[in-house]
Amino acid sequence: MNLAQNKAASQSQKLMVFVLSMALYGLATLFTELIPSFQVGIVEFSVEYFLFIPLTLAMLFDPMSVALGAATGELVFSEIMLGQFGGLGELEKFITVTIGVYVAGRMVKDPKNLKMVGLAAITGTALQLMMGTVVDILKVQLAVEDFEAVAGLPASVFVTEGFAFLNDLLFSGILFCLLPTLFLVPKLNGKIEPLLGMRPRSEQTLSGLDLKLVLGCVAGFAAACLAELLATSGTALIEWEADWAGSQTVLWIGIVVASIVAVLIFQIMRRQAGKERA
């Protein structure tokens, strides 16, 4: 066993970790989607987060594979299988879960150090929740036109979202992310790695927070912000075009033309596909 061999997991081992994290987190999110939450007063008690599963796995295996697997698992099991795929909103969830889990996984150098495990677990959860909150607020602002003009809406959105964030972090975050991770990581460490044919994580197999990680996170945040900005300017563009079109009839003619063009494009695509096959 030379050092180079321990350092990085092989491609097939990465695929194993991906499949493992996908199946487990997918199953967990499926349950949370099906189990209704219950509210006591204004405080919502929901088993919202089984995030402890990818958090635990990310601290033991290659964090990137675990993060991608968890995000894919959530997408496939709880959204696509139940038919609750929400389009653009799912992309945001995908990115936030990936970043949160990845950062938490990279923070832990030694799974035996429980202080670091706990800190990483709560940091990852907070990161994921915070990004989700920001995106949620922006989404309502985009969907409701004249957001500021509607009486009471801006304040209520900020308050509900802010409250939901704190509530999730303090309740779900501690009970369903921090404590189970602290329970599972030491128990699984050294037991689960041999099952996938790997060595347990130690100081040599992973360097902790380094420059590359910081750069990657900055790039990820930039990508998320860019996506938001694009979405914002996108609405402005469409609004402006509608203004220019002016009357309703022109708009409808536009829609009809667009649909005819779409059908034509499909025909051409089909023909192209047919040619390729022939």
Binding site: V47, S156, L195, E276
Partner: protein
């Protein structure tokens, strides 16, 4: 008193893991004979892209209502499982209802309701369109359709794999939970404190049940990946001719054109009619 007990028994019965499992499996596998399932996945995905994105950017109530009615019809055609619909309705109304109450609290008035209704309409339309497509389609056809559009091979593999592995995983989780329950000694759940203690006990068991499940799934995923590797999965995934072979089963038929044409006619006709009214 008696009917109350019966009702709570009935509800508890409905919430058992077996029931959840059946509903999910029915949703995933149970409807290959519907009209929606017979359509070409590529056409349906394109159809979904329209109804999943466009309503977000349009504020015209007539257009939104027409969209909503159309996706309602297609959802009905897809024979979606009852539980899925129930969760969907609960989710939409609890979310916007909560927002409404809080905005009234902050000095909103009746004028707050209209934008919220439009928001609800948008959310509902997009979600129903996605329920139609992703719930009505066979998983294999769905993943083939996604692959045709150039989605990463990982994603379509994940979908196909998820549908195969889910029944096994659910069964295993149930077995682990049962064995924990058999061996465990649940606290006395009489009285208010007892109920809370019992709930905490239940949640703790669910958390602990993941420990054996993680180990077993690790073994299983190693087997899966080794079996895949033996058949050259990672090379086949990036090979063009393999992809072509896989996708040759997809065909756009007469039915698809009729579906698209009818949707278009509905949208244009319905919107015009509503604006005139």
């Amino acid at each position: 008193m008696k009917w109350k007990q019966k009702l709570s028994e009935n509800i508890l019965d409905k919430l058992s893991i077996d029931f959840l499992k059946n509903q999910v499996l029915k949703n995933a596998y149970g409807n290959t004979d519907t009209l929606i399932a017979k359509l070409d996945p590529r056409i349906l995905i394109a159809w979904y892209l329209f109804f999943g994105i466009v309503p977000w950017f349009v504020n015209d109530v007539a257009f939104l209502l027409t969209c909503f009615l159309l996706v309602m019809i297609t959802t009905w055609l897809a024979h979606v499982a009852g539980l899925v619909m129930f969760i969907f309705v609960l989710g939409v109304f609890s979310q916007t209802g909560y927002l409404l109450i809080v905005s009234l609290f902050f000095g909103g008035n009746a004028s707050t309701i209209l934008p919220l209704l439009i928001l609800t309409l948008k959310v509902t339309t997009c979600s129903l369109a996605s329920i139609t497509v992703f719930s009505g389609l066979d998983p294999d056809r769905l993943s083939n359709g996604l692959m045709w559009y150039g989605c990463p091979e990982r994603l379509s593999f994940s979908i196909a794999y998820a549908y195969r592995i889910l029944p096994m995983l659910m069964e295993e989780f149930q077995n682990v939970l049962l064995s924990y329950r058999l061996r465990g000694n649940p606290p006395d759940h009489s009285g208010w404190m007892g109920k809370i203690r019992y709930l905490i006990y239940q949640v703790r068991i669910i958390m602990q049940a993941f420990y054996p499940l993680i180990l077993n799934t690790a073994k299983r995923s190693r087997t899966t990946v080794e079996a895949l590797e033996m058949r050259g999965y990672r090379y086949a995934a990036s090979n063009r001719s393999v992809k072509k072979m896989k996708l040759s089963a997809l065909k756009v038929t007469h039915l698809d054109s009729v579906f698209l044409a009818l949707s278009l006619l509905w949208m244009v006709g319905g919107s015009l009619l509503m604006t005139w009214i």
